[in-house]
């Protein structure tokens, strides 16, 4: 029963990821006084890409064809770890946050390889940039996770959420810092605006898009879907770790329904914040990204320090 529920939750996760992307688009269009496409437009785009025949360049090796499958499957596995609408599920128990970051790294590794596989200049440039950004973002992410782990004495997400739920509302300085650090990391890792522009058509400024420039058809659809799931993953991580209230703690239908409703509202609110920041800030120069990410690292580090200095018994 619990395993079935875990499977259903993962399916719900990957099925609703395009919806979140649609909502983000809607928020941004609204803020820029444009007419927004329908909420379900990302589904239509995915369906269109799925039907098209993928075209592969001549020099492509097996890595190029395997990469979309690996990227999508690691992202789906990562999504199965994160508690979405219920805690205490069996999938969340067998893997912790470090595994989650490992899945991200594995997917990113193959995507970077695929970017270099064809041998075009833009692909290699995109891969090199992506690796630079992620090498700087990962320490910040891990430091934020460790800050959380020091409070909850665990790196397991489900147990940590339970801990936050049971201690009630505590104004922890360390959580505020870790949340801010994680938000900055999320912006960098999902390629949103101050770091990378997902809608750009100018190859020289691309990071993520430059790697997938050669993909088309079904392969492109898989990668797009994976990046939508990744965006939702970071959103769910932030809202469920720092504001877990409303998440289902038992598996009754009522609790699950309430959990889904609470999660939808929280994610919608977080997406509005993301949309606002995307509209307000301009894209940074690529050489400013390391300042941005070192600030994220600083925030996470301050979170850990403030935990040690202010929150524990001396």
């Amino acid at each position: 029963m619990a395993w079935l529920l875990a499977l259903l939750q993962t399916l719900l996760f990957i099925a609703s990821a395009p919806l979140l992307a649609g909502w983000l688009k809607k928020v941004k269009c609204r803020l820029q006084n444009r007419r927004a496409p329908s909420l379900f437009q990302p589904y239509r785009d995915l369906r269109k890409l799925w039907r098209k025949e993928p075209i592969v360049a001549h020099p492509a090796s097996w890595i190029f064809k395997a990469a979309p499958y690996i990227v999508l499957s690691t992202t789906v596995l990562a999504a199965s770890i994160v508690p979405l609408i219920a805690v205490n599920l069996p999938t969340a128990k067998i893997a912790d946050v470090v595994v989650l970051i490992g899945f991200f790294a594995l997917g990113r590794f193959f995507l970077a390889l695929a970017g270099m596989d064809i041998g075009t200049a833009f692909g290699g440039m995109g891969s090199s940039r992506e690796m630079t950004v992620s090498a700087l973002a990962e320490p910040a992410m891990l430091m934020a996770v460790f800050t959380l782990a020091m409070s909850a004495s665990t790196t397991n997400l489900s147990v940590a959420m339970n801990y936050v739920l049971h201690t009630g509302l505590v104004l922890r300085p360390s959580f505020v810092f870790a949340m801010l650090g994680m938000m900055l990391v999320a912006v960098a890792e999902t390629g949103r605006i101050p770091v990378d522009n997902p809608t750009t058509h100018l190859e020289l400024t691309m990071i993520h898009e430059a790697m997938i420039l050669e993909y088309s058809g079904r392969y492109l659809g898989m990668i797009e879907w994976a990046s939508q799931i990744k965006l939702m993953l970071y959103g769910v991580l932030i809202v469920n770790i720092f504001f877990p209230w409303g998440i289902a703690q038992n598996f009754s239908l009522q609790a699950l329904g309430f959990g889904a409703l609470a999660l939808t509202l929280k994610l919608a609110a977080l997406t509005v914040v993301l949309g606002l920041s995307e509209v307000l800030f301009a894209k940074m120069r690529i050489f400013r990204v390391q300042e941005f990410l070192s600030f994220a690292y600083l925030l996470s580090l301050l979170g850990m320090l403030s935990h040690i200095i202010l929150e524990v018994r001396h």
């Binding site: 505590v170 104004l171 300085p173 810092f177 600030f295 600083l298 301050l302 320090l305 202010l310 001396h314």
Partner: protein
């Protein structure tokens, strides 16, 4: 005391204390003077809120007066004065980029760790709840000094100096229920006078070396070379 055993007001004091350190770090990394002054004002306002909360938690009502003084002086009056000075001297377009901001930031976190180690014996002395923040206030003092060391602009030096004063005031509030009223009024007045005097000095420095870059003061010599 672990944080889960404290009341929400006490937790809020700890949270605000950590935000004050964050403003110190933001000041370290800020290259534009007007924004630097704005962050300084935010620090003053946070300090005033912390003091008001401490007055409630520590049950010492005279701290409300200190909070009000801090708010009017460091939150509103001095920042507005500095802002006017910057606008008058046309410095608001200047950018002072640090050669390596990440290194300065990491040095800053080193200072935070250092002040934690130094203050650890003091924290163990007393069961006072807010005493954990004494390391934070010392870190604010040290970060203010770091700000003064890393900058060349005289205005940034003044902001660093004022933020050192913020740290000292914060230490007094959280560790000893605030200083006696006479001392506090005296310090507030001193800070005000200092701010006015600095304004006068700015004009003097600028009229003698035609810039507010204090590195150029190194060239001044008593004897002709």
């Amino acid at each position: 005391m672990a944080i889960t055993e404290l009341s929400h007001y006490q937790q809020a004091i700890l949270l605000l204390a950590s935000l004050i350190v964050l403003t110190s770090f933001l000041m370290l990394g800020q290259s534009r003077l007007l924004r630097l002054v704005f962050i300084f004002a935010v620090q003053g306002i946070l300090l005033a809120i912390t003091t008001a909360l401490a007055a409630d938690v520590l049950d010492s009502p005279h701290l409300y007066i200190s909070a009000l003084l801090t708010l009017t002086l460091k939150g509103i009056f001095i920042p507005i004065m500095l802002q006017r000075l910057i606008l008058n001297m046309g410095l608001h377009r200047d950018m002072e980029t640090l050669p390596n901001p990440a290194r300065v930031m990491m040095g800053g976190t080193g200072l935070v760790v250092f002040s934690y180690y130094v203050c650890l014996p003091i924290v163990k002395l007393s069961p006072l709840i807010t005493l954990n923040t004494i390391a934070i206030s010392m870190a604010v003092v040290l970060l203010g000094m770091l700000l003064m060391i890393t900058r060349r602009q005289a205005v940034a030096h003044v902001v660093g100096f004022m933020s050192i004063e913020n740290g000292l005031f914060f230490a007094a509030v959280v560790s000893t229920y605030g200083m006696p009223m006479v001392v506090e009024l005296g310090i507030a007045f001193d800070v005000l006078v200092a701010a006015v005097l600095f304004g006068v000095f700015f004009f003097h420095i600028r009229s003698s070396i035609d810039s507010l870059d204090v590195d150029q003061l190194n060239r001044l010599n008593e004897v002709e070379k």
